[in-house]
Subunit: 327 residues, 2 copies
């Protein structure tokens, strides 16, 4: 796959492919956030995307190129819950069966919504079992096609369409962005962003943001090689717990990202509360890390124009309430 | 004042006046909401507006025409909390002092945010005292200018800019709207909407939506004269508890609105949960009534194109959590 890295033209092709099916989310500016950071912050709310996260973009781009003849046994995917919903919704639109391997401790809302899009769910124990092995076994038995969560050129190109829209809207506003901050799990959104921003806004630096104990991108970018997270880490960000950067994604991100930032659970919760109070947006923990990097001062936005992606909003009501009451 | 009713040209002038200060909120479409209602629903999320509600539009339009020489004693207003924030924020931007008369049982978040914009707050007992009397007394003593919450041509014109943007964006999308649903308390947003939609999309019907026990607009529209709500009514919608339609607003709304709908607290709470789960938007009770009218089937959107305004998102975390957990 390394020889087949996607480029900005693939992101543009993905945008044409998903137009009218994916939501073109707006680029928002909040006076309260500008005042708080001392810069101009442009917010890309992928919480408003179909299925509640950017993941629908990549899944839609991948599945729209499949015919049911190519996938007689449907689709198999593994995911903590957002890619699950993206694949399930995109498969339903194509009339394809979807089977998703999800951790048994996935947020209830993500499980319920994935099932709501018509997918079959197979649970696994995140600490004891290997989801890729389970998924590959299921796919082989069914004659199904695997749609990986990030290490796939079509998935990366699809995720990049969010950043393509950021670049288009910023240009329309006459704003030259200094930086773009995006959450990173396996690095698919970061890679797609790096491709789109690199082509359209080459002066803007792209940073990825991770949970403190899952900062494999930050470590890998600093060392130049893919480094795995130590085992036993914990984070409230269920969507960002990939063990290490993807092979394909890191081939793109390594030479292109300006660096990796990391934020604590406390900083993430504060960002979720800020989004509730000042932005009236529901953001899940993993979706709030870029906002957390700004609010915590890990990235200094003073005097700068910065875009951030709020990547998802699929959070259980109970956790959301707990976070609000902890403020 | 009846001889000086605002018109669509005043809404356009207001839009020019508040441009770059108020947020131009997007017009959003949610596949999940379309699927649920059987129509195409266009959502105007004024929860994303500066101060978290549409009220900033009217306040900004009114105050941007005032000089500090005209208001040596600043501004006085009365409000349950959203007009309070709108006036406080607009006054701060103009360097004017603001004093707001608020009910002692106003949501804590609204009180805190109004104070956060630098306003002085005077509390009154909603059941025993008259807020207008208190406000007029304060204004007379201070040499302050009163900015009424709805019965004012500049306020109405300012609120109408939200609907002007709906009409512009719908036209850009090539969509002919069949109906526009807006929340009504005193009727300022409805009146501004009626003016803007009447001029730009004359085929679209404008409906106002109210809490069940505060359906004074529905009653007044049906009878042709302003009717006051019976006393003792209760509603979760703190923002929509005006006793009767405004004199100026009803002079506009009476001949222009297609009718009034009403929704129960339970329907409002269900709409707030839908907005949390499927739209990832934080909507306060009063801001959710138009959505509630659609989801409850009070307005049938099947096969139609309908725009709704989510008018505000200033809800206490404790109430929001309670609503989520009641689902």
């Amino acid at each position: 796959m390394k020889t087949d890295l996607p480029d900005a033209a693939d992101v543009r092709a993905a945008a044409a492919r998903i137009a009218g099916v994916a939501v073109r989310t707006p680029l928002l500016e909040f006076p309260a956030l500008n005042a708080r950071t001392g810069g101009r912050v442009f917010v890309k709310p992928e919480v408003l995307q179909r299925t509640g996260s950017f993941k629908f973009r990549g899944a839609c781009n991948r599945l729209s190129q499949l015919s049911s003849a190519e996938a007689p046994g449907g689709i198999v995917a593994w995911s903590s819950g957002n890619h699950a919903q993206g694949v399930a919704a995109a498969a339903a639109l194509r009339g394809l069966a979807a089977c998703i391997v999800m951790p048994s401790d996935a947020p209830q809302l993500k499980v319920a919504r994935t099932r709501g899009f018509g997918a079959e769910i197979v649970f696994y124990d995140r600490l004891k079992e290997n989801r890729e092995e389970i998924g590959r076994g299921l796919a082989a038995a069914r004659g199904a096609i695997i749609v990986p969560p990030y290490d796939d050129p079509d998935i990366i190109a699809g995720q990049g369409t969010a950043a393509l829209e950021i670049a288009e809207d910023a240009s329309r506003l006459g704003v030259g962005l200094d930086a773009v901050l995006v959450p990173a799990g396996g690095g698919g959104l970061a890679a797609g962003t790096a491709l789109a921003i690199g082509a359209l806004l080459p002066d803007a630096k792209v940073y990825c943001v991770e949970p403190a104990q899952f900062d494999d991108h930050a470590q890998s970018l600093a060392s130049g090689a893919r480094i795995e997270n130590p085992s036993g880490g914990h984070s409230i960000c269920d969507a960002l717990m990939a063990p290490l950067p993807g092979e394909v994604t890191f081939a793109i991100n390594g030479p292109r990202l300006a660096g990796g930032l990391s934020v604590t659970d406390g900083e993430v919760e504060a960002a979720m509360r800020f989004a509730f109070e000042e932005m009236k947006l529901v953001v899940e923990p993993g979706g709030a890390v870029a906002l957390a990097a700004l609010l915590s001062g890990k990235h200094d936005a003073r005097g700068a124009a910065v875009a951030i992606i709020l990547s998802g909003g699929n959070v259980d009501a109970a956790l959301f309430s707990r976070v609000l009451s902890a403020g």
